[in-house]
């Protein structure tokens, strides 16, 4: 048996194929990332220039701008629900509604909300449900005029996607923003997000995403981020770098060529009409944000209507990242399952010229380099072990190659940090920047292997049909400042 394995491994066919495969895969990825950096630089510059001609102050004073509903699902968030709702109610936008969907919480969330916001129960018999959802029990509106823009929908549990769909059904505005109840949204975020919709010309905007930042250990006062701090521990600290890199380089670059397939569930804006047309979020996948974005794109391609998915480079929403390895693994496991489900639901796109670039380029990219990356990395580790055992590795060369790849990874992270520091004023103290750089350089050793493990765990569950839901995401919560 062992001899057989040795013979297979030692055969020049396996050895050469493996070498070429990893080399070509790595080189393609490097080429894509490098192009991504160039596109991101162009995109950031263009977005900044464009914003000169559409300033937030002008939007605030205008009367004909589209109305927006912010929808936030909540499940068992009684501990922080009041603070979170107050935070989301304080967002600046002239025509703004906020719908909190209580997704069958088993704790005292609803009671707390009723008491704090003086909510009055209304019958839900006549509500329109263009998107089918779990049944809605009651609709609550505040008797206090101060909270006139707040609606609480109390429904039976159906999961995040189902709760968002219930909010979309009830909303009566042109645009909807989907977020999470525990996100801290920048006060002027909606004013900025609405810009692409106002400026849309020949192409309809079907989704708009903004940058999302990690704000563990930051200080929140009255629902507003008072002081942005870097996290104390390494896991969330590396996530700061990871998010900067992913959003500023990745999303910005894909946005530049209208290739964005994902608008994050934590903060995305959509035209309600289009979301209803495609049947809302898919409650049968845990990657509902990616799935909706792809479905919206597919829908527009089917209708043959020019469209765009837009990304804004600025961080508009702050969230709490997994504070430790256990929760990180659960999160990435879920993301991997969501990706698997979405890729499989939309497999008809694969090299399908009918869907133009989405079929020929964007979907295959996601399949090979987003879905495939953990598998390739895992295979790489296995092959190193086998090749090492059978003495097929030239170790001095391997070490040099490792340094090169490590250096390239660090280079991309450093570029992302530089672009962020140069263009935005969230991390301006030298100490913060040094910490970010250190986190970036430690990432391949202390963070990335865990990430691959989490992703592979998710794939394993899908492969062997092991049932798993969202998993419990225990969070520490932001530091609340009373002063």
């Amino acid at each position: 048996m062992l001899d057989n394995i040795e013979n297979i491994i030692r055969s020049s066919y396996v050895y050469t194929t493996a070498n070429y495969f990893f080399f070509i895969y790595g080189l393609t990825l490097f080429g894509l990332y490098f192009s991504g950096v160039l596109l991101a630089i162009k995109g950031i510059r263009r977005t900044k220039r464009k914003s000169t001609f559409l300033q937030v102050g002008d939007i605030v004073s205008a009367t004909d701008i589209p109305s927006v509903t912010l929808i936030a699902p909540a499940y068992n968030e009684g501990l922080t629900i009041i603070e979170n709702v107050k935070s989301l109610l304080s967002i600046q936008y002239p025509y703004y509604e906020f719908i909190l969907v209580n997704d069958g919480s088993k704790d005292d969330s609803l009671e707390k909300l009723i008491k704090e916001f003086d909510l009055e129960r209304n019958d839900a018999s006549f509500i329109q449900q263009p998107i089918p959802t779990a049944s809605v029990n009651y609709i609550y509106k505040s008797r206090n005029k101060k909270y006139a823009h707040l609606t609480v929908i109390d429904k039976n549990n159906g999961g995040r996607a189902d709760a968002l769909n219930a909010g979309i059904n009830f909303a009566n505005t042109e645009l909807v923003v989907c977020t999470d109840a525990d996100c801290i949204i920048e006060q002027d975020a909606i004013l900025k997000m609405v810009r692409p919709y106002l400026e849309a010309n020949e192409k309809e905007i079907v989704a708009c995403g903004g940058g999302i930042g990690i704000a563990n250990d930051s200080v929140v006062k009255n629902g507003v981020l008072k002081e942005l701090k870097l996290p104390d521990s390494i896991v969330p600290m590396v996530q700061v770098v990871e998010y900067i890199r992913a959003f500023l380089l990745g999303r910005m670059a894909w946005g530049e060529i209208n290739g964005l397939m994902l608008v994050s569930g934590a903060f995305g804006m959509y035209p309600r009409k289009r979301v209803i047309q495609v049947g809302g979020f898919n409650p049968r996948t845990v990657g509902e944000d990616l799935e909706l974005c792809i479905r919206l794109r597919t829908h527009m391609e089917d209708l043959n209507i020019p469209y765009k998915v837009v990304y804004l480079p600025e961080t508009l929403c702050w969230t709490e990242g997994p504070p430790d390895y256990d929760i990180l693994i659960k999160q990435r496991d879920r993301w991997a399952r969501g990706l698997w489900e979405t890729m499989s639901l939309h497999k008809k796109l694969f090299f399908n010229p009918r869907y133009r670039y989405m079929g020929i380029l964007y979907y295959p990219y996601w399949l090979f380099f987003e879905f495939g990356a953990p598998i390739v990395e895992f295979l790489g580790i296995l092959l190193i072990i086998f090749f090492g055992i059978f003495g097929l590795i030239n170790w001095p060369m391997a070490v040099l190659l490792f340094f090169l790849i490590y250096g390239i990874g660090c280079l991309f992270s450093t570029t992302a940090i530089f672009l962020y520091v140069k263009n935005f004023d969230h991390y301006t103290r030298p100490k913060q920047v040094v910490e970010l750089l250190l986190a970036a350089y430690l990432e391949p050793f202390l963070y990335h292997p865990v990430l691959v493990y989490g992703q592979m765990k998710g794939y394993y569950k899908k492969l062997f049909n092991i049932k798993s839901g969202w998993g419990t995401m225990t969070r520490k919560g932001f530091k609340i400042s009373k002063s």
């Binding site: 002008d58 006549f126 280079l411 530089f418």
Partner: protein, 349 residues
């Protein structure tokens, strides 16, 4: 790939990382210096403006002193970034003032540097400079350059033509409706909003002759723009133009018409006409919006609602049932409900 080339590649990569470190350090340092420099310019300019507007006879502010003070804080022709910042400050300050102070400030702007910066930008090859130049000219009300700007109203770059179109509104007011509804390119929603806002801010008295002439436009964006103007100025006598577009073939035009009509309460005759148009609207969401409008702005018309309840259009029956249920016609809703299920199919105790 041999050892030497790998080593060289590693050297290049790590050198690039080191270069980025320098960039980051420079960026942090530059930000700090620049922030304090801009603060100094801002404070100096605020001081100049306040002293100029509320001149102290004992300590008069001369133009020479203003020019010298500005030069001392870095407003020099070679430093275009500082000049650009000063222009932004000038525009921002001007926006906050009204009446005599506004006029005084405009006079001051003609006498102090920078001179002719904005008009020079118009001849730039870069769309960004060009659009900024046009914007500065209309914001600073430099109407002498109107002819220069007018030719850019159909420019191929959206930002250039957009700024030129706003300039048209600023300088021509209602007369700009001679041109705006007939432009070559589409006008975006934001552009429509901005045109309406500028017109309303600067020319609050409507001049209907220009509006009536513009009604002839067949351009869809032109129709939307005119409806928004009618809405903003609350021109009740012109609501007929909006109503006529409620059943327009184009989705966006209908959407704008439904949005705009919601601002007005209309006569019984017009409301009856709207009810007639209601059934011609091919989109259920838009029908829903119009249904809300009809409900909120007219007495309950039982015949109209029953006709909708028993029509083939299934999508809005729930809303119609809700209206009837909450307004004293529960029995009509029950009747409708029961007639859907013939008795033989009912399985009641």
């Amino acid at each position: 790939m041999n050892k030497e080339s790998l080593l060289l590649s590693i050297e290049i990569v790590f050198s690039l990382i080191a270069i980025f470190w320098i960039f980051i350090a420079f960026s942090l340092l530059y930000r700090r210096i620049r922030t304090s420099q801009l603060r100094l310019i801002e404070e100096t300019f605020a001081d100049i403006v306040s002293r100029y507007l509320y001149n102290d006879p004992k300590n008069p502010l001369t133009l020479a002193e203003i020019t010298r003070t500005l030069r001392n804080v870095g407003i020099k022709s070679k430093n275009s970034n500082n000049i650009q910042f000063l222009i932004r400050l000038m525009i921002r300050t001007q926006r906050t003032l009204l009446g005599n102070n506004f006029k005084k400030l405009q006079k001051l702007y003609t006498q102090i540097p920078p001179y002719g910066v904005s008009i020079k930008k118009i001849s730039s090859w870069s769309w960004y400079s060009k659009a900024r130049g046009i914007r500065e000219i209309y914001e600073m009300n430099q109407s002498q350059y109107f002819d220069e700007i007018f030719k850019y109203r159909n420019d191929k770059n959206i930002y250039v033509r957009r700024e030129a179109q706003i300039a048209l509104v600023v300088f021509l007011g209602w007369e700009s409706l001679r041109f705006l509804p007939y432009l070559k390119h589409n006008i975006t929603l934001w552009q429509q909003i901005k045109i309406v806002e500028k017109l309303y801010d600067l020319y609050p008295r409507p001049e209907l002759k220009w509006l009536h002439r513009a009604y002839e436009t067949e351009k869809l964006f032109g129709k939307k723009l005119l409806m928004r103007i009618i809405r903003k100025y609350e021109l009740h006598d012109e609501t007929g133009y909006i109503i006529d577009h409620l059943n327009h073939y184009d989705y966006e035009v209908r959407e704008t018409a439904i949005y705009c009509i919601q601002t007005f309460a209309v006569s019984l005759n017009k409301m009856n006409y709207i009810k007639e148009l209601y059934e011609d609207i091919p989109n259920v969401n838009q029908q829903g919006l119009l249904l809300n409008y009809i409900f909120e702005n007219s007495e309950i018309d039982l015949d109209f609602y029953l006709q909708q309840l028993y029509s083939d259009n299934e999508d809005l029956k729930l809303s119609i049932a809700e209206i009837l249920w909450n307004n004293g016609y529960k029995e009509k809703v029950q009747e409708f409900y029961y007639q859907q299920y013939p008795k033989r199919e009912l399985n009641v105790g």
